[in-house]
Amino acid sequence: MQRIPLVDTGCLPPDLEQMVTKWKAEEDGDPNFVRTLGNAPNMLRRYVPFYSPLVLKGVVEHRTKELVRINIAWHNQCQYCMATRYGSGRRSGIDEALVAELASYETGPFSERERAALLYSTAIVVDPGGVPPDAVERLRDSFTDAEIMELTWAICLWIETGRLFAALDVPYGAEAPSVNMIVGLT
């Protein structure tokens, strides 16, 4: 059951409504991330300038980070995160056939750099304080310290915010009902 009501897109402050429109146009992004956090607009306004460059820009190419994000979504079993896809991910060659290969990424059509990042992300999901030495070694063979730190932050935030979205049962899709259409949430 949905735990936090979504803000109707038309009821968002104009800058956040514009954010949803831009997100949809550029990334084919789902609006419910903004519709959920739009309950706290000031917080969202400060979070996006930090989060968006971490995920969409940064020193690690988006394709690797997006593969890692989907891998974490699967481990977290966050329905919203698993359903989410980005236009920039598709443009970098991530289609549903490739996503299906993530279950066996060591033998799938991935680069060594992508495999090292996927192994690292899985290790952090399982035991963040106990990343195996071989996973660290493979990571350091493929990534600089700056890239590793970017990956580490993205991974840790995706794990925890993804789990929160799972706990809150945030639905996927623009048609998901808003606050006044859900009985018992307010």
Binding site: A40, M43, Y47, F50, Q77, P128, G129, M149
Partner: protein
């Protein structure tokens, strides 16, 4: 100055990557927040990233925790559970976690959520959420729960690089 993390990553001291005003912000942050600055230092590899995080986190702890006791309760509880997680000692049932004594009702509602979230985030009871809604508005709850996730994220980064959440 650099610090070497548990994984051997070279982590530049956060202050070296900051402009003067942000350096002052971090000093202020370090004096008012118990979060270990070693965690924030891991953001300093990329220009502007630490500053953008401080902008976000500063607002979050000011607005989401307009009452500072809630901030302390959340950070302390996440930190306590983080220590259990690092020791592989987190129980499988949230009811085995004893909340600290003397908490106010709203603090207790938050702690129960944090405990349930840590133990099994996919099976948090309706009662836990009802209790939260009895004390917080939807806007407050959104900020508080996001803060829990972000602080847990920081704790997880700390775990990876071998730095405790709290100084």
């Amino acid at each position: 100055m650099t610090e070497v993390s548990a994984l051997g990553f070279l982590v530049p001291a956060a202050e070296n990557a900051l402009t003067d005003d942000k350096r002052a912000t971090l000093r202020r942050f370090s004096s008012t927040e118990a979060i270990d600055p070693g965690i924030l230092a891991t953001l300093a590899h990329s220009p502007g990233r630490l500053e953008r995080f401080l902008d976000f986190y500063g607002q979050l702890v000011t607005d989401a925790f307009s009452d500072p006791r809630l901030k302390d309760v959340v950070r302390r509880r996440v930190s306590e559970l983080d220590r259990l997680i690092r020791a592989h000692d987190l129980p499988a049932d949230a009811s085995e976690l004893r909340p600290p004594r003397g908490l106010a009702a709203d603090e207790l509602a938050l702690v129960r959520f944090i405990d349930a979230f840590a133990v099994d985030y996919r099976n948090i009871s309706d009662e836990v959420f009802s209790d939260l809604r009895a004390h917080f508005t939807v806007g407050e709850l959104t900020e508080l729960l996001w803060a829990v996730a972000i602080i847990r994220g920081m704790a997880r980064v700390g775990s990876v690089v071998g730095v405790p959440l709290e100084r």
